[in-house]
Symmetry: C2
Subunit: 81 residues, 2 copies
């Protein structure tokens, strides 16, 4: 079974309160010099082969459901493994 990965991250110009909270928590735990942005990762198992058409379909799904494209950017790729 083929696997496709969709990464969804807040756009660079968008504030990321979750990432900011994590950055602060890391500092308080003594992990300094790290700036974090937090997003989502979707691992999608695809029935059958991942054809270019199937990938386009998943891109469409990512745009419609997985990402809020007003504030988030997404990346779709076939898992190398």
């Amino acid at each position: 079974m083929a696997r496709v990965i969709v990464d969804v991250m807040p756009k660079p110009e968008i504030l990321d309160p979750q990432g900011k909270a994590v950055t602060g928590a890391l500092q308080r735990l003594g992990f300094t010099g790290l700036t974090v942005r937090q997003g989502k990762r979707f691992e999608i198992d695809v029935d059958g082969d991942v054809t270019p058409e199937r990938l386009d379909e998943i891109r469409d799904a990512a745009e419609k459901l997985l990402a809020n494209t007003v504030i988030e950017a997404f990346d779709v790729r076939v898992d190398a493994e």
Copy 2:
């Protein structure tokens, strides 16, 4: 500035209600044959070079703060770009 990626996913034997909800929503939208698991992606900008010691520190941070290792598995890697 170097960037490290930490992916956090629910362990295979753990139920993933978020992923299940997304899988169902995709089906209702007409995207069939896709099974989704949902996790988190952290993009960490590191001040200075990413030495092996620095990576170990980030692994430690992932274990302590970014992932709940009872139910989640994590993967730490240097961003290729």
